[in-house]
Amino acid sequence: MAAIGATRHRIDPPLERIPEVGRIPAGSPIEARLEKIWETAPGWRGSLSTVDHKTIGVRYLVTAFLFLVIGGIEALFLRIQLVGPEMGFLTPEQYNQLFTMHGVTMIFLYALPVLSGFSNYLWPLLLGSRDMAFPRLNALSYWIFLFAGLFMYISFPLGQAPNAGWFNYVPFSGPVYNTGPNIDVFALGMVLLGISTTVGSVNFVVTLFRMRAPGMTINRVPILVWGTLTASVANLFAIPAVSLAFFLLWLDRQIGAHFFDVANNGQPLLWQHLFWIFGHPWVYVVVLPAMGIVSDALPTFCRRPLVGYTAVALATMATMLLGFGVWVHHMFATGLPTVALSIFGAASMVISIPSAVAVFAWIATIWLGKPVFKTPFLFFAGFVALFIIGGMSGVMTAAVPLDWQLNETYFIVAHLHYVLLGINVFPVVGAIYYWFPKFTGRMMSEKLGKWSFWTMFIGFNAGFFPMHIAGLLGMPRRIYTYPSRMGWDEVNLITTVGSFIFAVGVLIFLVNVVLSVKRGARAGANPWDAPTLEWAVSSPPPAYNFATIPTIASRHPLWEGRIEGEEEHSRTKLEEGYLLMRGRETLGTSPIDAKPVVILKMPEDSYTPFLVGLFVSLLFVGLLLHSWTFTALMTALSCAALSVWMWPRRNLGQRTTRHDPASAGRGGEGP
């Protein structure tokens, strides 16, 4: 340490140093230098190599919304077919493929990726850091998500899309009853997508424990961070179950294995166990970060901090913990022993407790605050209402005898749409209205915003509430048509009309986005007068996020001094902080107390994530086509690209600092 000579200081980054503290005024030459260190190259080079979490976050959001639109159009086709009895708009096979792709698209390609988009964009800003823990892994996660999405649509134009529903039960999805490439595309696509979700989750988990600004102790992180953290930890445990299930199915279909093959002692129920061990935690994965969005953004419009921060944070984690013990409630009708059904039924009902904690916290926040009825507030308040309806129908289906009646009917379809649209889509659209000024520097139109909310809210309820009734009247889900005289005609007509009204609402929202990107009113750094750290930087934020690493002293750094009963002396420091600009640098802090422990060297932009993503995805294409040479070649290329990626770098402090004539003069700045 002390032995490192002065000359070596010039050649290599020193192994340790005291981080300088100072200020970097906007527009100063030193700020320009910081900008240069973090900027992405223009043109296609930058597009393929960038590791900026903000760019990746926006890509996630845009891609996920494209999938939302595709999945939505598929749903409208389904609703046209069901508008009246005995319609011939779609063939049964087309109907099967469309409802399957609708589910796959919404649940896997929209619901989590859109939340990952928000979290990728916002986490470092919320946490007071300059990037995620693994910027290149972040880029890889996006590329594989994109390629997996394209992969799952590869057979759609040929009329050979997945057709066994999004949970894809065997034996119907097995080799005997489903001979085309439909299910293989789905199976391999899901394994590929699992890689993206897993590396993304690793990134979130490590970022939370390592990358918070000094002073942001674990009890000061925003609830969105708690939500995404909980979801990511759950993913680490749950994703392998579904990846394995799909891989075993692929082996059954293509290699002749017997895991689900009844004739050879295989067990179809094994599929259901593996799928739902993943599937139920996944339900919370796609709602908890969205609930976190509301917990963070709703208080801004209530002009007071969230009521019951600690209770909501603990409820978030409790929900997920319980969520791992309820998968069998998807299997009540499979003939499992009564004891198992009772335990899982009871566990499913217990989940309503942490959910209610969060609901009452939101209601109390609105109640005790002074609500400002802006568009985001409407979406968040609407979300609370829909969450209550969806939660109630959830408790109903947790009761075993009632579930036997309701299972595989439209009641379940109504429930899951109230939950997924209510707790995911409404908060997400509200969150776009809320953070749009941060993303683009422009406000969205409030007038169109209110129109979009009311159209969506009325259309949604008109469309999906009658589905409860259709279910109670005995209408099974996933039927391509139904005879007249069943008493289902009216509810289906109303549902179709409602779904089109809802689609118009989404369209108004999209028009608002397009118009506002170009012509929205200019937004300042903090147009909503919000309390959290992302509003302390300009809109849109600079490439380096924070000119100096701030020091945090409360949960609402931008509202300090306004809230009664606060300690006078503890004050967040935003202007003065650690400079950290010898190359791409940020501060690593301790997991609980967020005390500075290490100066982290961050990687510069790189093509390797794109190449690894491309080769890995092509490897899956090789498996799909049974082209083993091509698969082997792509495996080799993936390994080569990974080796380049992992090659120890001197400017990242991964190698010895002794003999090094080559990098003289470069300092630690990186190329």
Binding site: M1, V21, S201, P240, K573, V597
Partner: protein, 201 residues
Amino acid sequence: MSETAPVVTPLPVGSAGKLSGGWWGVIALIVTEASLFGYLLFTYFYLAAQTGQDWPPTGLPGLLIPGINTIILLASSAAFWAGERRIRQGGTRSSIFGFIAAIALGSAFVAIQLLEWKNKTFSINSDLYGSLYFTITGFHLCHVIIGLGVLLLLLAWTMMGYFDHKRHVAITIGGVYWHFVDVVWLFVFSALYLSPYLQRG
């Protein structure tokens, strides 16, 4: 007040051992990989419990060769551990021998395992047990081969003089992955080779 005061003692810069992001990342990777093997063994025991067949259908597995192979894999872990320890003590050159031994023992494990495969009378698509046996041991073998690739890179980097007693985070990270692959084998071995004796006993 103290919590907001700026640091006055020097902080490590860059990938400093267990303070590096990579260390935390590999721990998260191990958690998710361990879950994967957990689900594989769940699949094995679930199907074994549900079947009416004698289990395993081909009779109890022989323990001699797989037992020796288990010891070889554990010895590989020990050799790597010794090599890493030498690096921490500043003996970069002698650490190379530890890594070479680890790679040789790991390769021997792969060779013996492939021989085991060849001597089986069943295959992945002959019956349910064959599907389970070859899928589970195949998953593990893939991990061993990937681990060997990692060890080869680490060996090359060590020989190129990239690491010393202060900076060798790649060794720490690659090493813990290799130990993980070896520990997982103990679970696979117990499930596939030892548990049938318990069930029959």
